[in-house]
């Protein structure tokens, strides 16, 4: 069969060159993703800011809570460029606040809190959304009621309810889990519990279409259980819409947490988050605009990066657009 003689009548059917290595799906996705400049930038910035808030405290070892009244109200170092008389110093590169706390250290600590809330709430929303979507798409009996429930939750006024929940349940959770821990649990759960609906709808739609396909029929005909079909065959196929809604979820979670902190119902006053740093500085932003602008820019850039990442992922993961 594999005899390579010159008179082989099947020579035309054989490959002239060695076959190329098979390309995996994720390599295709990456190739498409690379072409989206905004997505590359966004993803890069997200990785950068995540690493910065994780590793930051080990590099910039200043305690964000340490009061230093002698060095209060310092300006960032770049102010010295146009205002030589401003109180600046290299040991406080971004200045200090009205109690002498270092702003760079506070931004890093605040970023930790904001990103942690964002990621945790996003994961929670994804878990709820995906399970509701899968169950409702796969099991016909559950579909009607789960979707009615999703519609109902969609018509709840989210921001007012968030405000109500956070203000009213602050005290008992604080008593049980400590001021920071209680607030973290509360904010993550209220944001997660109120933002899973879009994911559920998208996943349900995809599952409904997928479960009529032949490979599911084949899997069922060899006796695969429902759980295994969902885990092995359905979930890998809906991973792309889940990833896209994950990016959107991360963006909304970060914004919601900052908005709650801004309205004064977020974390306790000595616990910095980006939204809180921004809100606390609004009173004196005429004298110290950088205290508003720096956390604001960090929030905006992170959300912008995440949104661009989502845009690029949507293009890259859609096989109809890919390759064009």
């Amino acid at each position: 069969m594999t005899d390579q003689s010159a008179a082989d009548p099947y020579a035309a059917l054989q490959d002239k060159e060695p076959p190329k290595a098979p390309r995996s799906q994720w390599k295709d996705v990456w190739d498409q993703f690379k072409h989206h400049k905004g997505a590359l930038f966004g993803g890069g910035f997200l990785v950068f800011i995540t690493l910065a808030v994780i590793l930051g405290p080990y590099i910039w070892q200043v305690d964000p809570q340490k009061l230093d009244i002698r060095n209060k109200d310092m300006r960032p170092i770049y102010v010295a460029l146009w205002d030589g008389s401003a109180k600046t110093g290299w040991f406080r590169p971004l200045g200090t606040d009205n109690l002498g706390r270092d702003i760079l250290a506070n931004l890093i600590a605040g970023g930790r809190a904001s990103m942690a809330v964002g990621w945790a709430a996003m994961v929670l929303a994804l878990l709820i959304g995906t399970s509701v979507g899968v169950v409702s798409g796969y099991f016909k009996k559950a579909d009607f009621w789960l979707m009615r429930f999703t519609d109902l939750v969609l018509s709840l006024p989210i921001l007012p309810l968030l405000l109500v929940a956070v203000t009213l349940f602050r005290e008992p959770l604080r008593a049980n889990f400590g001021p920071e821990g209680g607030m973290f649990i509360l904010i993550v759960s209220v944001v997660g519990l109120t933002s899973w609906m879009q994911t559920a709808r998208i996943v349900r739609g995809d599952i409904l279409a997928l479960k009529e396909r032949e490979f599911i029929l084949a899997a069922r005909s060899i006796g695969t259980t429902s759980g295994a079909i969902i885990r092995r065959h359905l979930l890998p196929n809906v991973i792309s819409p889940i990833m896209v809604s994950a990016t959107l979820g991360l963006a909304t979670a970060i914004i919601t947490e900052s908005a709650l902190s801004f309205l004064g119902v977020g974390f306790p006053s000595d616990f910095p988050t980006w939204g809180k740093l921004l809100a606390d500085s609004v009173q004196r932003m005429e004298q110290y605009p950088e205290r508003v602008i720096l956390p604001g820019i960090l929030i905006s850039l992170t959300v912008l990066g995440v949104n661009y990442l989502g845009d690029g992922l949507r293009d890259a993961l859609d096989p109809r657009i890919r390759g064009r």
Partner: protein, 335 residues
């Protein structure tokens, strides 16, 4: 279409009841005590009396039922009386705010015009800016205008209003001194000069809210136009010699507006929610600010009513969006 509308209207009643129940239970579960501010010298039995006077002594389902009756039966009667001078609601118990001891709806009616002015105007401004941007960027896809437009809308989409608000205040009120940073709601427009002041103080809150609307809507408009520009009927219209303006502005635009109009209707409630933050930044005393103060003061009837008004807005505009979609698109028939 009429049967569909009626069916949706009837279906929205259980939805609203469910939402009111959720809000009610949430507020019931909450540990706040309205008697917390009462001095310690007041004896406990008097406190108990005061509690009962607030309607707190009864079981939960009775309280819920009373609230429903007050909100859905007595308050409409008050409105009816107000309009036609009748006296149906005479002597009946209305929803009373614990902060001011006056009917909640009276305060809401005082506050709503400010919110409506700022929110409504910002929405109109946002739509007026977003539609041309969306149309032109779709028509010249991948042009410089499209690229910058997409970039700017992406930024507008990502910058939260509690950052743009202070930023605008720093630039335009503090540095340049063009606009006032605080919205003066007692200001009355009588002549040209006072109208100018009113106009100046509205620019910044309206622009902050409009930025969000513009960013979302122009993205929708662009993708909807792009979907339609590639269709066969566009080629037909061009082939039969229609002017380019007529093709784009009449044929394509009318078809692309169908999904965009539903998005516009669906966005109205969320812009009210966003107004909570903007009102807080610019110190507009609208209903968003009222909700915040009521929350901090533990004024449960007020919070309940306001949250429920937001819910009614959402359900109402969902319904409007559905009905509009059916009216505008003859391919969609619900019956």
């Amino acid at each position: 279409m009429l049967t569909f509308t009626i069916r949706r209207l009837i279906l929205s009643i259980p939805t609203l009841l469910f939402i009111s129940l959720v809000i009610f239970l949430l507020l019931q579960l909450a540990p706040g005590d309205p008697m917390a501010q009462v001095p310690l010298t007041v004896p406990p039995e008097v406190k108990e009396k005061m509690r009962e006077a607030l309607g707190l002594g009864q079981p939960i389902h009775v309280q819920y039922w009373k609230w429903i009756v007050q909100f859905f039966w007595i308050e409409p009667q008050v409105l009816f009386d107000h309009w036609f001078g009748t006296s149906f609601a005479e002597g009946k118990q209305r929803v009373i705010s614990w902060q001011t001891r006056s009917p909640v709806m009276d305060i809401v009616v005082q506050r709503i015009p400010q919110t409506l002015w700022v929110v409504g105007l910002s929405y109109v401004v946002g739509i007026l800016i977003a539609l041309p941007i969306g149309i032109y960027s779709a028509y010249r896809q991948y042009s410089v205008f499209d690229q910058t437009g997409t970039f700017i809308t992406m930024i507008g989409f990502s910058i939260p209003p509690f950052f743009t608000g202070p930023l605008l205040i720093v630039v335009f009120s503090v540095q340049l001194g063009w606009f006032p940073s605080i919205y003066d709601t007692t200001h009355v427009v009588t002549d040209w000069a006072s109208f100018k002041i009113q106009f100046m103080q509205m620019i910044m809150p309206v622009m902050v809210l409009a930025l969000q609307t513009t960013a979302q809507l122009s993205r929708y408009m662009r993708s909807s136009m792009l979907d339609n520009l590639g269709q066969d009927y566009v080629r037909t219209a061009r082939a039969k010699g229609l002017k380019e303006g007529a093709v784009v502005m009449v044929h394509v635009l009318r078809n692309s507006m169908i999904p965009v109009i539903t998005v516009i209707a669906l966005g109205v409630p969320s812009i009210f929610g966003g107004a909570i933050i903007t009102e807080n930044v610019f110190k507009v005393n609208g209903i968003g600010q009222l909700l915040l103060t009521a929350l901090f003061a533990n004024d449960i009837p007020m919070v309940m009513t306001l949250t429920f008004i937001f819910a009614i807005l959402i359900v109402l505009f969902n319904l409007i969006a559905d009905v509009l979609y059916g009216v505008l698109d003859p391919r969609i028939r619900y019956d």
